[in-house]
Structure formats: structure tokens, C-alpha cells
């Protein structure tokens, strides 16, 4: 039986090594206004903000966990669920929209089963529909992590997905 994303998340939750989080906190411990850099650092380390690290941060910085949760849900940059190794950003800006970005999104949904802000069960891919990424000349455009793929088509999308799948 394959595990659901939730079960995977639960498992990672249990097995979280707090070492990297502690290191991040150590780095900023004496700085005032340290909550944001700490959370960003933790996300950098884990790819998302595991719950256990929120409680750790609360305890070590003496900030209420509720307050941290408030910050985490306020900013779109923070993620509370594990995210894929590859983040596919599908540009939904005006130019891309006109040139069929919707179809690209649909293709990803069809091939990987993930829509906006969703992650594949194997934690390989996360899809994100974003507003303009500033490459309108190459519309429609997607990004996989830091690599940009312009003038993309349904077929090219397939190729990109296959390439990253092969890389594992």
C-alpha cells in the first residue's frame, strides 16, 4: 500500500532531526527581531517548517507558538507541509495566461496529479501557480527550482517532467 501524503508527513514529523534547526537558532539567538531569519533559515534547511521546529523555536526564543503560527500563515513564503524536491512554478501572469498557461497547469495536474500548492506523494514535485515571474518574452513559462523553461508547450512540459523524474 502506498502511503498518503499525510502519512508521509507524519512520518517525517516523527523523524525530524532538530540539529539543523538548533543551529539556525544558535546563529540568531542574540539578535533582536530574530524570528523571521530563524524561520527562513529553518525553511532553508528542511524545505518547509516542520511543526516540531515551531515548538523548538517557541521554547528557545521564548515566543508563543501561536504567534509563530500567525507569522507563518501571514507570509506566503512559509510552508508548513513538506514540499517536493522540485518546485514547478507555473506562471499565470497576463502574457502567459494569454498564451495558454492554463493548459500547462492542466498538463502538470494530469501527469503528476498535483494542482496549485500541492505536492506529489513521493515528495518529488510541488506545483505552484504564481503571478508574473518577469519573463513575459518567453511566455508561457515555467520554472523548476532555479531553471527557467520558456515558450513551453504541453509536449515540452512532459519532457521537463520526465527529465526531473529521471534525475530522481
Amino acid at each position: 500500500m502506498t502511503e498518503t501524503a499525510e502519512q508521509v508527513a507524519e512520518k517525517t514529523e516523527e523523524e525530524i532531526d532538530l540539529g539543523p534547526a538548533n543551529k539556525v537558532i544558535d546563529k540568531y539567538l542574540d539578535m533582536s527581531g530574530n524570528l523571521m531569519p530563524v524561520l527562513q533559515g529553518i525553511q532553508e534547511e528542511y524545505g518547509y517548517i516542520p511543526e516540531e521546529t515551531v515548538h523548538l523555536t517557541a521554547e528557545r526564543l521564548n515566543v508563543y507558538a501561536s504567534q509563530i503560527y500567525g507569522v507563518l500563515t501571514f507570509y506566503a513564503q512559509f510552508h508548513l507541509e513538506p514540499r517536493g524536491k522540485y518546485i514547478i512554478r507555473v506562471c499565470m501572469g497576463t502574457a502567459c495566461h494569454v498564451k495558454g498557461a492554463g493548459r500547462i497547469g492542466d498538463t502538470i495536474k494530469e501527469r503528476l496529479g498535483i494542482g496549485h500548492a500541492e505536492t506529489t506523494e513521493d515528495l518529488l514535485f510541488t506545483a505552484e501557480y504564481v503571478a508574473c515571474i518577469g519573463a513575459c518574452g518567453m511566455a508561457p513559462v515555467i520554472m523548476v527550482n532555479d531553471a527557467t523553461y520558456g515558450s513551453i508547450t504541453v509536449q515540452k512540459t512532459d519532457e521537463v517532467i520526465e527529465k526531473y523524474k529521471a534525475m530522481g
Binding site: V54, E59, N62, Y64, S66, Q67, Y69, G70, F74
Partner: protein, 822 residues
């Protein structure tokens, strides 16, 4: 002072007032939703907008705008009306209008404003919230569909309670109030958020569908639990206490309460309460008439002669204690005592020997203005939670520096910039001594006019900061800094709590704290104070009224000891359940078995079950009288409901007993108050009329020490055992009475042994596992609670739960050496 004009009226207010406060003071009404007297200004709801002549062109939020000289304010105009109405329309876009089934109906600020501003239709349309109701816990129900995002719950939980359950989460339209990870509420359940909520978003669950607010009769009285003496307002209907109403107009607590005060009332309505006297016949307790019972008591006591002891609880009113004292005289015994007889010695002997007084030197509100606070042993957030809130405000609003001398971490240690001198159990004394020693060594002590300085210096020789740091595991520099801070502070406070589970070194700690208060000049100085806070609602009253062994009498422990060996023939227990809560259960049981035993209580307690005569008494909610709290404030206790069945107040019972002994008793509690003030030192001249909304503090706000005598005391002794058990009280409970109340029981219903994570891992224990401990004198077992606040090797168990039989191994020692049994 600043002069301004509001609606044509000249108003003079202090310069830190806001427009809203100035208007309120002048009796001018401005609507508010997010404002609360005790919280910092916030300006979230925008219904308090007013016009200010000098700030034309926009409306000004009155609750956040400070007054300025010559300001001309208008609180109502067509424009203001229109804008306020629009604000209400906005709020009502998402707000679910389910007033008919909302418990807030009838006292909801939003409902009232909607009515006042005649918001009949709404020009705006939007989605209604459809969020699930938080019904996970039994005490506080949160229905976020009714929330207006005023943030009062978030702020009170942070600014006052210091727990931080809530936060605003998400943003824009999606914004809502939630806990961390948006789960069900799991907190201390003090219900401060309930009392602050202007709408029906946060409600007390036990009160759900019990009554409409206007059907309730409100009676102001004093909480019957701890020595903080919070005033509470009972909401009664059908001769039952249905809820505790919010009231920030009376008393010292500013409307703040803890779980016990707000949710711990149900025992007063309990069907398990005794309703008839009982007399033992042929080995069985059977119901009897009052005449028969009083006769049986009189006969029994007569037979015992002067071989009799009386032990009282500290939740009787002053008037009742006065009658009890008279009754002890009538019986010719000086064997009179209360609360286990040891714990209060820090006050009755410690303070008496040093300062010549037997009470705290200052009042609670003064602590809020202190620069430095030293808290010894108890985490007041647990023992006297509302006093803890005062300390929190001193820190947050006045940047007071808090030092905590404790053997475990707690809420106090988490307060901003709190310094914790975390020491090995039983060594509090050594640290206080070390602080005194630093004061003397560094020339910081104010030694003018102090007696006994040389002796103290001699006594402190071995308590240098260095030696004590090594012995206790506390940082040497931290001890020194604490001494320096206390010496430098203009206003400082020293806090020490006492109670049944804290009997060890009671007297010595009182003396050490008094020494420190003398060397720093804290005792008797305006704005500063030494606070020794009793565990029960009238602990201070019991000391003031002299419910103590007389010169020829013996104390509670000796009485029980003597009764257990047959030396003492009769015992009279008034509102005490020693089998459940006194140290050395085995001995106590034997005492109860041997003696002719009269028990006067609300319930058939374990002690009462062994009695020869049981006299049914009533709770604080069913009687009139006065309590004196830990800061010497005498406050009126008022009857909210009539007693059920044949139960009588302790006052009425003692009237009967006195009359059976052929003595006159005051006819009413009013007469008794007049009589007791005439006889009680410090109470002279006080009349019931003088007990206003804030009560009356005997000895005035600052009680000056009569003597200034330093007394050297030795140190405590640490245990060498790998595992050590601390006994104490837990936040959710107070004594044993709260274990009969649904509210506190809903959160913590049974005993537990708290273990730190490291020990849990080593012993392979998980939350909820059964842990067995071997200790001198017996064995203990209870479920494990894994927590982060204990040092390794130290365990903690609350003393409230009789079923655990903790007092089989707890005999009053500062720390119990234990060994986990596999």
C-alpha cells in the same frame, strides 16, 4: 493634568489618558468593542471614532489618541453616526447573526450597537463565515463565526495571563483568531478570553443554555479558593450558581480570574454535599437531627475534658473563626490550630521574630509598579494565579526585573527577561542567605537601626555567593546581580507563598525573607513590600484571629500525633480533611480512628467517614461574612444561594455549639464582625461600612515593621538521591475542595507524577504510563506526565488528590528521595 472640552463639557484628566478615558471619566459615552480598561490601547474596531477640532478632516479613534491641552472633542454628529454605522455594517457582513441561540444574547456589545445604530439593512454583501466550532475542551467554546477580530482574547492571554494561546492567523478576509496550528484550545482555561470577548465568539461551555443574562441574579462575593482574594460575581438562578460573571469594578483582581475562580464553582451546587447531620450508631453513620448531633458533640467533648484538639481550615470566614475561637475557650482548650499547623510559621514565627508583625507589609497593586521582584519557591502563576498576572504586568509594562528562586521552571521563569536561580531541591534558604551575604559584603545593605547585625554576619559566613553557587548549582554572578538589583531598586517586592504542601523550612524561609527585606529596606518602604501569601481564601484571617495554639496548647501535628497514641481523646475538624491532605497519612488515620471525632464539612470526606458526628456545613456561596486576603484586605463574602437540606453555615453551627456550652454567641455575622474587630489587633475601629468596593486593608497600604531584628538561619540540606520527588500544588486545583468541582476536574482529574523528558527517556516512560515509586515509608503510583520544566532527576506530584495517597510518604520533608520501580 490636561484640560480639554468634550461635547462642550470641561474635563480635566491626567496627561496619559486617552480621549476615550477622559470621556468616560466625564460620564460621556463612546461605544467600543476592542477597548478594555486593563489592556493596552489597540484601535482595531473603529467604532469609537470621534471628531477633534484640532485634527479636522478625519475621524479620530478615541481609544488610542492621547488627550492634549485645549483639545475640543465631539463624540456624536451626523458624520460620526454614519461612519460608525458603516463600521457595523462591515462587521455584520461576515458575522453570523444567530442571536436567538447565542449565549451572549442580551449582553453582546455588537448586538447592542447594531440596535443602537439601527443597522436594519446592510448595503454590503459577502460570504458568511462557516468555521467549525471549537468544542474539544469542556470549558471554553469558540465560535469564530461570531468573531469581530477585536483581538482582546489575544491581548489578554499575552498581556495579562502570559500564556499566549491565541494569535491572528492568515490575512485579509481569511484572518481569524486561532491557536498554534489552528487546533482546539488546550491551555490553562482561566477563561480570561471569555470575560473579554465582546461578542459570543468565546463562551463558557458549562453555562451553555443555562440562562439568559437578564435572568441571572448577580451577587458580588470573594472567591473561596486561594489567598489572593479575588472578588467574583456569582450569577445565580434556581438557587444554583450558574456561572461566574465578569466584574472589573470591585476588588483587587481587575476582573482577572483563574480556572478555579471562573470554572471551579460547581461544587457549591453538588448533589453530593451533605444535607443532614450524622451520628455514628452501632458503628454506622446515620442521619440525625441537629439537636441529636449537637447533643452528641457536647457529650463527647465533655467526656474528653481538656484532652481535646480543634483543627480548622482556612476557608472559614473571619466571623466563623471568631466563634470557633470562642468555642475553644468555652471548651477550655488551647489546642487550636489551622492548615496543618506548620506551613504558616513563616508568618506567625518568622515575620514575628524579625519584623514584629504577622502579615505581608504591602498590597498587591503596588507590585505592578516595582522595579525588581524576587519570587521565592512558589510560582505564583500556579499558587496565586491572579497575583502572577500582576507580576506579569509589572514586567511587561514597567520593565520590572524578576528573579525566581525555584527548584523547577514554570510560567514565572518564562516571563520576559526573568532570571531563574534554578537550584537543587530544598536549598532556597541557602540562596536567600547568599543574597543577604552579598548585600553585606558589597556594602549595599541598609543596616542603620537594624538589630542583630553581628549575629547575622556570623551566621552568613558560610553562605558566600561562591559557596552557595557551588552547593546549589546556581550561577554565582546571578546571585550577586540579584542582590545588586534588589538593593538598587526604588520599589521592590519579595514574594513567598506558603501552604499545606510547603511546610519544610517554613519558619526559616520567613526569617530569611524578612532579613532580606530589612537589609534592602523593602519592609515598610512606600511602594515596596514583603509578601507572604497564604494558600487559602482566609489564611491571613485565621492568623489575625489567632486560630493558633495557645501558650499551653499544642499545634495540629502534635494534636494528631497525640490522638494517634491515645493521649488526646477528642478531635474537632472544621472544614479540614487531614486524611486527604495532611502529611503523614498513616498517623493521621490512626488519630482519626482513635479519637472521638467531630467533622464539620461540605462533603463526606475521608476524614468525615471516620467521624463520630458529622455536621453538614455550607460553601462560601451560601454564607455572609468576611475574608482577609494575603495582603490584609478584608472583603465581604455574600450569600448567593440558600443552603440545601439541613446544612448550616459554620457560623450557625458554632452558634448552636456555643449555646449548648452555655455561652452567648453573636446573633448575626454583623454583630460578630463588630465583636471581632474590637478584639483583633489591627482590626480595631473597622466597621462593615468601611469595606467598600475594594474592601479595606487593615494596617494601611504599608504595614510598618514593629521591630527590625535580623536573625541568622541555617541552610537547607539537599538530597543525594538520584531521583527526588517534590510535592506541591498545581495551577488547576486549590487544596482538596477543587477536586469536587467539575471545571478543574475537567482539565486535571487525577494525580500524576511529572517527569522531565530526559528522565522519561532513561526510564523508558511515556505520557500516561503508570509510574511506581519506592520511597521511605511506602510506595506511590500515578500516571506519568512528561514535561519540560523539571531538572533531571527531579519529579513533581500535586498534593490535591487523596486517591494517590501521596501523604503516606510525604511527612513534611522538603524533598522525598524516591526510586522508580520497574
Amino acid at each position: 493634568m490636561v484640560n480639554l472640552t468634550i461635547d462642550g463639557k470641561q474635563v480635566t484628566v491626567s496627561k496619559d489618558a486617552t480621549i476615550y478615558e477622559a470621556a468616560k471619566q466625564a460620564g460621556i459615552y463612546i461605544p467600543v468593542l476592542c477597548y478594555a480598561k486593563k489592556l493596552l490601547p489597540y484601535g482595531a474596531c473603529r467604532v469609537c471614532l470621534v471628531e477633534v477640532e484640532q485634527m479636522k478632516g478625519r475621524l479620530i479613534p478615541s481609544c488610542t489618541t492621547p488627550v492634549t491641552e485645549g483639545m475640543v472633542v465631539t463624540t456624536m454628529s451626523d458624520e460620526i453616526r454614519k461612519v460608525r454605522k458603516t463600521v457595523l455594517e462591515f462587521l455584520l457582513v461576515n458575522h453570523v447573526v444567530d442571536c436567538p441561540v447565542c449565549d451572549k444574547g442580551g449582553e453582546c456589545d455588537l448586538q447592542e450597537l447594531t440596535y443602537e445604530y439601527e443597522v436594519v439593512t446592510n448595503r454590503f454583501e459577502g460570504e458568511k463565515f462557516d468555521l467549525p466550532t471549537d468544542e474539544v475542551n469542556p470549558l471554553i467554546e469558540r465560535n469564530m463565526n461570531r468573531c469581530v477580530l477585536c483581538g482582546k482574547c489575544v491581548r489578554v492571554c499575552d498581556e495579562i495571563v502570559g500564556y499566549g494561546s491565541y494569535s491572528f492567523i492568515n490575512r485579509g478576509f481569511e484572518t481569524k483568531i486561532a491557536t498554534a496550528f489552528d487546533r482546539g484550545l488546550n491551555c490553562e482555561f482561566c477563561g480570561q478570553c471569555v470575560s473579554m470577548c465582546p461578542v459570543g465568539a468565546i463562551l463558557p461551555r458549562p453555562f451553555k443554555f443555562k440562562a439568559r443574562p437578564w435572568q441571572l441574579k448577580e451577587v458580588d462575593t470573594v472567591c473561596g479558593y486561594c489567598g489572593n482574594g479575588c472578588t467574583i460575581t456569582l450569577g445565580t438562578k434556581d438557587n444554583e450558581v450558574q456561572t461566574i460573571r465578569f466584574n472589573d469594578e470591585t476588588g483587587v483582581n481587575d476582573g482577572n480570574l483563574c480556572i478555579r475562580g471562573r470554572f471551579g464553582y460547581s461544587y457549591v451546587n453538588s448533589a453530593d454535599k451533605l444535607t443532614s447531620p450524622m451520628v455514628r450508631r452501632d458503628g454506622q453513620l446515620v442521619e440525625a437531627s441537629w439537636d441529636e448531633a449537637i447533643q452528641a458533640v457536647s457529650d463527647g467533648f465533655k467526656a474528653a475534658g481538656d484532652s481535646l484538639g480543634i483543627i480548622s481550615g482556612a476557608r472559614l470566614t473571619n466571623e466563623e473563626l471568631f466563634l470557633l475561637k470562642n468555642y475553644s475557650k468555652a471548651l477550655g482548650t488551647e489546642n487550636l490550630d489551622h492548615s496543618g499547623g506548620e506551613c504558616y510559621k513563616g508568618v506567625t514565627e518568622g515575620l514575628q521574630e524579625t519584623l514584629g508583625i504577622k502579615a505581608s507589609t504591602a498590597t498587591f497593586p503596588q507590585v505592578e509598579k516595582c522595579d525588581a521582584i524576587l519570587s521565592i519557591r512558589s510560582d505564583f502563576y500556579e499558587t496565586h494565579p491572579v497575583f502572577g498576572m500582576v507580576v506579569n504586568q509589572a514586567i511587561r509594562r514597567n520593565e520590572a526585573k524578576l528573579t525566581v528562586v525555584a527548584d523547577k521552571l514554570g510560567k514565572f521563569t518564562k516571563l520576559p527577561n526573568a532570571r531563574t536561580l534554578l537550584h537543587k531541591p530544598a536549598l532556597e534558604l541557602n540562596i536567600i542567605n547568599a543574597i543577604c551575604s552579598v548585600l553585606l559584603e558589597e556594602g549595599l545593605a541598609k543596616t542603620d537601626g537594624l538589630e542583630g547585625l553581628d549575629d547575622l554576619k556570623k551566621g552568613l559566613k558560610k553562605f558566600t555567593a561562591k559557596a552557595v553557587a557551588k552547593e546549589t548549582g546556581v550561577d554565582e554572578e546571578a546571585i550577586k546581580q540579584t542582590a545588586r538589583e534588589l538593593a538598587a531598586a526604588e520599589n521592590a517586592a519579595i514574594l513567598l507563598a506558603y501552604g499545606l504542601p510547603y511546610t519544610a523550612y517554613s519558619k526559616e524561609l520567613g526569617i530569611a525573607a524578612a532579613n532580606l527585606s530589612l537589609l534592602t529596606g523593602i519592609a515598610g518602604r512606600q511602594g515596596s513590600g514583603l509578601y507572604l501569601c497564604g494558600e487559602k481564601a482566609n489564611s491571613q484571617g485565621a492568623i489575625d484571629l489567632g486560630i493558633l495554639p495557645g501558650a499551653k496548647g499544642i499545634g495540629a501535628q502534635q494534636m494528631l500525633d497525640d490522638a494517634s497514641t491515645g493521649k488526646l481523646k477528642a478531635l474537632y475538624m472544621v472544614g479540614e480533611d487531614p486524611i486527604a491532605s495532611y502529611p503523614n497519612r498513616g498517623m493521621v488515620e490512626k488519630a482519626m480512628d482513635n479519637a472521638f471525632l467531630v467533622v464539620q464539612d461540605l462533603f463526606l470526606t475521608e476524614t468525615a467517614a471516620k467521624a463520630d458526628v458529622v455536621l453538614p456545613a455550607v460553601s462560601f456561596a451560601e454564607k455572609d461574612g468576611t475574608f482577609t486576603n494575603a495582603e490584609r484586605r478584608i472583603q465581604k463574602v455574600r450569600k448567593g444561594i440558600k443552603s440545601k437540606g439541613d446544612a448550616k453555615s459554620d457560623f450557625e453551627i458554632l452558634q448552636l455549639l456555643l449555646s449548648a456550652a452555655g455561652k452567648d454567641a453573636p446573633a448575626t455575622t454583623t454583630d460578630a464582625f463588630a465583636a471581632l474587630t474590637a478584639e483583633t489587633s489591627g482590626y480595631e475601629g473597622i466597621t462593615l461600612d468601611m469595606l467598600g468596593k475594594q474592601g479595606y486593608v487593615w494596617g494601611t497600604d504599608i504595614l510598618k515593621p514593629v521591630t527590625s531584628k535580623l536573625v541568622a538561619v541555617g541552610g537547607g540540606e539537599a538530597s543525594k538521591s538520584k531521583y527526588q520527588l517534590l510535592v506541591g500544588s498545581a495551577l488547576y486545583h486549590s487544596g482538596t475542595v477543587s477536586t469536587k468541582a467539575k471545571g478543574p476536574n475537567a482539565v486535571v482529574s487525577e494525580a500524576y507524577i511529572e517527569v522531565c523528558r530526559e528522565d522519561a527517556a532513561e526510564l523508558k516512560l511515556e505520557e500516561g504510563d503508570l509510574l511506581k515509586l519506592k520511597a521511605e515509608g511506602g510506595e506511590l503510583k500515578a500516571k506519568v506526565k512528561v514535561d519540560r520544566r523539571l531538572p533531571q532527576g527531579v519529579m513533581f506530584a500535586p498534593y490535591h488528590f487523596s486517591a494517590m495517597e501521596l501523604n503516606r510518604v510525604y511527612t513534611g520533608q522538603p524533598v522525598i528521595a524516591v526510586e522508580p520501580v520497574k
